[in-house]
Amino acid sequence: MNAQNVGKINFVGALITLATIFAAILWAFPIYWGIISSLKPEDEVVRPYIELWPDTLTFQHYWFALTQTQIGRWYINSIGTAVGVTFLTVTTSMFAGYAISQLNFPFRRTLYWIILASFMVPTQVLIINHFVLIANLGLLNTWAGIILPQLIHPVIIIIYKQFFDQVPKDFREAAVMDNAGEFRILFKVYMPLNWGVTTAVSIVTFIWSWNAFLWPFLAVTKTELMTITVGITQVNDAFGVYYARQLSAAVLAGFPVALAYLLFQRKVTEAITLSAGIKG
């Protein structure tokens, strides 16, 4: 490889690097544009030219959203249901994953195959029968009704099973020798080993549930029980045709998950990559 060649390659390389960085900025620009627009007074928002920074920075739309709409309630509903989904999904999946990985019981393999097979079933096709079921249970317009159908995440069981599989058998045998009860073994020996997985999986489940649209949209008709993802788009008279108001509500709805991602970037990407690998 001669010197001239090296110089040429670096030039092309630098160009690709620059293009990538430029593309990244362009990619995220609509998000920036949405945020910036929500911080402008309404008359500035509709000006017929592009202003990348507001003349007058204002939080009036946020103030409006927080005081004049039900967004506070929607926030609470989103937090409550997402925490519920996360807690129930993670605990039941961990228990089941542990049992399948470490314990002997009849039909263990059958159960495992059923879980694997259920990856294929699209939950979207079940909306009709979920609705009928939840209606018959009298749970429409309740948190429980929003939560229940969101608890199907077979991939999390498999993630746990695979992690428990990696724990050396000696751990269990030593604990059994010590006459530790089965539950003690799970909570005191295995769970602490998996804290990393549990946090990663919990954060991602929370984000999934926060972002859920279709089911919460069907399960709730009363505006005061809507989750934020449903409320900000379905209650039209709450914001009127005021773009900055609508955008400020959207920023408020996206903020918690964006923050969760930025704070736990590594955990989030780890859990998402893991679950994708298993689905494949």
Binding site: I16, T17, A19, T20, I21, A23, A24, W27, A28, P30, I31, W33, G34, V45, V46, P48, I50, F95, A96, A99, L103, N104, F105, F119, M120, V121, P122, Q124, V125, L126, I127, I128, N129, V132, L133, L148, P149, I152, I157, E182, F183, W210, N211, F213, I228, T229, I232, Y243, Q246, A250, V251, A253, V257, Y261, T269, I272, T273, A276, G277, K279
Partner: protein, 293 residues
């Protein structure tokens, strides 16, 4: 030992009981119920009468079903392969970077994926707004006529596919980056010693070694785009929903707007079977490809 074994079974049963209960209630039961409902003439809630395969035969001459089916296929064609390639090119770019810059650039590309669909909808509805959207300023500047994108049937699906690619590329990028990291550096060193060009290196090394990841991304994208609803529904607000129907949207419309539980269930069963067939075919193809290697 025998006593021990028995207690192990009991513990196992206790541990899997909550999962089985939930799974039975919200998964097995609704699935069976869906099949049963699809053979009935029934409202969404309430008793129905058995009509055999009537709900299915009616689909053959159902224009809305036709629209929904072909729109779904069209949307898959517009989003799956283009989305995968966009993500591949971006991740090739990102993999050249390192340290903080790489983390920052990845975060910029990944951020949309973490946002709820409603937020994505608001952002793009604003960006592409006919009167005030920044994209329309760009159109003016380039000398194009402004277009009310989500109100025109011909533009709707491509635009929603574009937004979907923007929204979900971060996920595919993540998988591609993991795949690229798994390719040993020595192979690249050897190829640069051989004076291989950038394109040759990509064609002969990166592409074949990355193929399993590409196949995985394609599979996941394909299956998830068959189930598209949220974006189509949201962007159709104030537009022409009947032209923009996709499968899940039609299920929703039949069941919740027209109150035809039975007919909606029949459409759901059709989509269910399509997704299962695609998944199984995919699995078999992957296994076949795996054996060949």
């Amino acid at each position: 030992m025998l006593r021990n074994h028995k207690s192990e079974t009991i513990v196992a049963m206790i541990l899997i009981a909550p999962f089985i209960a939930i799974y039975g209630l919200i998964f097995i039961y609704p699935t069976v119920d869906m099949f049963l409902l699809s053979f009935q003439k029934a409202p969404l809630i309430g008793d129905g009468t058995w009509v055999g395969v009537d709900n299915y035969t009616r689909l053959a001459s159902d224009r809305r079903f036709d629209t929904a089916f072909w729109n779904t296929a069209y949307f898959v064609a517009l989003s799956v392969v283009p989305g995968t390639f966009v993500a591949l090119f971006i991740s090739l770019g990102i993999s050249r970077l390192s340290g903080r810059i790489q983390a920052l650039v990845l975060a910029l590309f990944f951020l949309p994926y973490i946002l709820p669909v409603s937020v994505v909808y608001r952002i793009w509805d604003w960006t592409l707004n006919f009167q005030f959207g920044i994209a329309m300023h760009v159109f003016d500047w380039l000398g194009f006529d402004r277009i009310p994108i989500f109100k025109i049937t011909g533009w709707f699906m491509p635009a929603v596919a574009f937004v979907t690619i923007w929204w979900t590329a971060g996920f595919s990028i993540l998988l591609f980056l993991a795949g690229l990291r798994a390719i040993p550096v020595e192979i690249y060193e050897a190829s640069s010693l051989d004076n291989a060009s950038r394109w040759q290196t990509f064609r002969k090394i990166t592409w074949p070694l990355l193929w399993p990841v590409t196949a995985l991304v394609l599979t996941i994208q394909l299956i998830s785009q068959l189930k598209i609803f949220d974006q189509v529904y949201l962007f159709s607000t104030g537009g022409r929903p009947n032209d923009n129907l996709v499968m899940v949207y039609y299920i929703f419309q039949r069941a919740f707007v027209n109150n035809h539980g039975g007919r909606a269930a029949a459409i759901a069963v059709v989509l269910f079977i399509i997704v299962i067939v695609v998944s199984v075919l995919n699995f078999q193809l992957m296994r076949f490809a795996g054996k060949k290697q």
